[in-house]
């Protein structure tokens, strides 16, 4: 019998190194199962969450986004999550307002000890996004106006801004590491 493939949403998760990433680790230690539908990007703090990252993920075709950080008051850096809370709260309201469906974007506070909350939230996020189906909104159409395909970096210089201390280092070339595929 042929396996029926369930629609697997593609969800980008941004986890704070100090808490939710650790909760995911602990969920692993405790062998708590959840669907393999999201991939985590580790960030130092939810305060690092630029709205760009969420827009970029949607543009790249993410079906869902999940940002998770430390409970208010528990930020490793003191106030990072307070600032991100304002920024993300407002961004979410805005994306709701323009019609990004409720259920695509999720935010949570999960401490490094809350493996079970992590598992439950993971299931909840995946279920919500799966229920919505693939995202079509704000998605950049592939090569609609012929940006060159994914560029490759020929030399290291083009992959990062040279440190200020290095005199005469070549500036990054705009066409490399940028564009659709980075």
């Amino acid at each position: 019998m042929k396996e029926i493939e369930l629609y697997e949403p593609r969800i980008v998760a941004f986890f704070c190194h100090w808490c939710s990433y650790g909760a995911a680790d602990l969920a692993g230690v405790s062998r708590m199962e959840y669907p393999a539908s999201f991939r985590a990007v580790r960030i130092p703090c939810t305060g690092r969450m630029s709205p760009k990252f969420i827009l970029h993920a949607l543009r790249q075709g993410a079906d869902g986004i999940w940002v998770s950080g430390c409970h208010p008051g528990d930020c490793h850096y003191g106030t990072g999550n307070y600032h991100s809370r304002r920024r993300l709260e407002l961004l979410k309201n805005m994306l709701d307002y323009i019609g990004i469906e409720e259920g695509r974007i999720h935010f949570s506070w999960i401490s490094s000890a809350e493996a079970e909350k992590f598992q439950q939230m993971a299931i909840r996020v995946v279920e919500a996004v799966r229920g919505l189906g693939p995202n079509t909104r704000l998605v950049k159409s592939v090569c609609s106006n012929c940006i060159p395909p994914v560029p490759t970096c020929d030399t290291m210089h083009e992959c990062y801004e040279p440190l200020e201390e290095i005199p005469g280092a070549p500036r990054p070339n705009g066409s490399c590491c940028g564009g659709n595929g980075l």
Binding site: P51, Y82, L90, G99, S141
Partner: protein, 326 residues
């Protein structure tokens, strides 16, 4: 042209230059077409006689003042004065170099709305421009056949959208105010007005959003006129990484408008210059007014009421609302 305001502005500007208290005065002069006013920088007392104030001063002079290092006076109604305060906080202007010539404002009119009332007839003059909120303007003109007309239009019917819900018509923190303050008029459910798509479901909201911006030609007039858009490199022009394309692809256009509006959140005074400047008639305020409302209701912040309070995205309170966080 509004006579009382115009004369008071000219007098104030002249005095400032004559007494050497500022190096320049930024105000409006009559534009090349009747329902337009254009920014002008006067450096001599004589030039001040060109200044006007009318129902069509719909730009934002804070943008002209932003980044200047000389001592300038700026003619400013409520919204612009608040932008100036904000720009002082953001170090775009030194407060000691700034002189605000405050103009209590009865609301600017929308050129497009006036034109719509005239069914394509050519506008050649603005004959009357009263200084009462509920007054009537008179516009008129002649066609090629020499047939002339005059039309009386109620101000209230052709105000710019943002001016209907304006809550700060009087200048804030002005150094001088040229006429008596006007009453603050905003009433009704301004929050609902700020978020007209709220009543729709997500699909319809997306439809409205997509439609709203589909005519954008990315001329960046909105960005150029906005006093808040002064980045040396706008995010759409970033190259490392170049994540938001500069194309007409709908996602690129939408991303530009979303993030531009978001960057204005907590700083935007709803001056309406973006919409006035847009050649395509796009309603950017759909996004900015929604954010303005959120900033006000979530964190009780109104931008530019002084030049010391941190903008809401530069600060926090431990008990901020967190409805979206589980």
């Amino acid at each position: 042209m509004m006579k009382t305001r115009t004369e008071a502005i000219r007098a104030a500007a002249r005095t400032l230059l004559e007494e050497g208290r500022v190096d320049a005065v930024i105000g409006y002069v009559q534009g090349t077409i009747p329902l337009r006013a254009q920014p002008f920088v006067a450096y001599t007392p004589e030039e001040c006689d060109r200044f006007i104030w009318s129902s069509f001063c719909g730009g934002n002079l804070a943008s002209i003042a932003s980044g200047r290092t000389d001592r300038v006076a700026v003619v400013a109604q409520g919204c612009v004065s608040r932008n100036l305060n904000g720009l002082v906080h953001e170090n775009r202007i030194q407060r000691e170099n700034l002189y605000i010539i405050g103009v209590p404002c009865i609301g600017m009119l929308d050129q497009r709305k006036v034109e719509a009332k005239l069914f394509g007839r050519n506008i050649e003059f603005l004959k009357r421009d009263p200084e009462e909120d509920l007054g009537e303007i008179v516009v008129g003109g002649c066609n090629a056949m020499g047939e002339c007309y005059e039309e009386v239009i109620k101000r209230r019917d052709v105000k710019r959208d943002n001016c209907y819900t304006c809550m700060h018509r009087n200048p804030v923190g002005a150094d001088t105010v040229v006429v008596e303050p006007v009453s603050e008029t905003a009433g009704g459910d301004i929050n609902a007005v700020a978020t007209p798509w709220m009543r729709f479901d997500a699909d319809r909201r997306w439809e409205e959003f997509a439609k709203n911006f589909e005519d954008c030609i990315r001329c960046y007039a909105c960005r150029d006129v906005c006093p808040l858009c002064y980045c040396t490199t706008c995010f759409v022009d970033e190259s490392n990484p170049q994540w938001c394309g500069k194309t007409q692809d709908s996602a690129d256009v939408q991303t530009f408008h979303i993030l531009r509006a978001f960057h204005c959140a907590g700083r935007c005074t709803d001056c309406g210059a973006c919409e006035s400047a847009c050649p395509q008639g796009i309603k950017m305020r759909r996004l900015t007014s929604m954010l303005e409302k959120d900033v006000r209701t979530l964190w009780g912040h109104e931008p530019g009421m002084d030049s010391t309070t941190k903008p809401p995205l530069s600060t926090y309170r431990p008990d901020d609302p967190e409805d979206h966080f589980k």
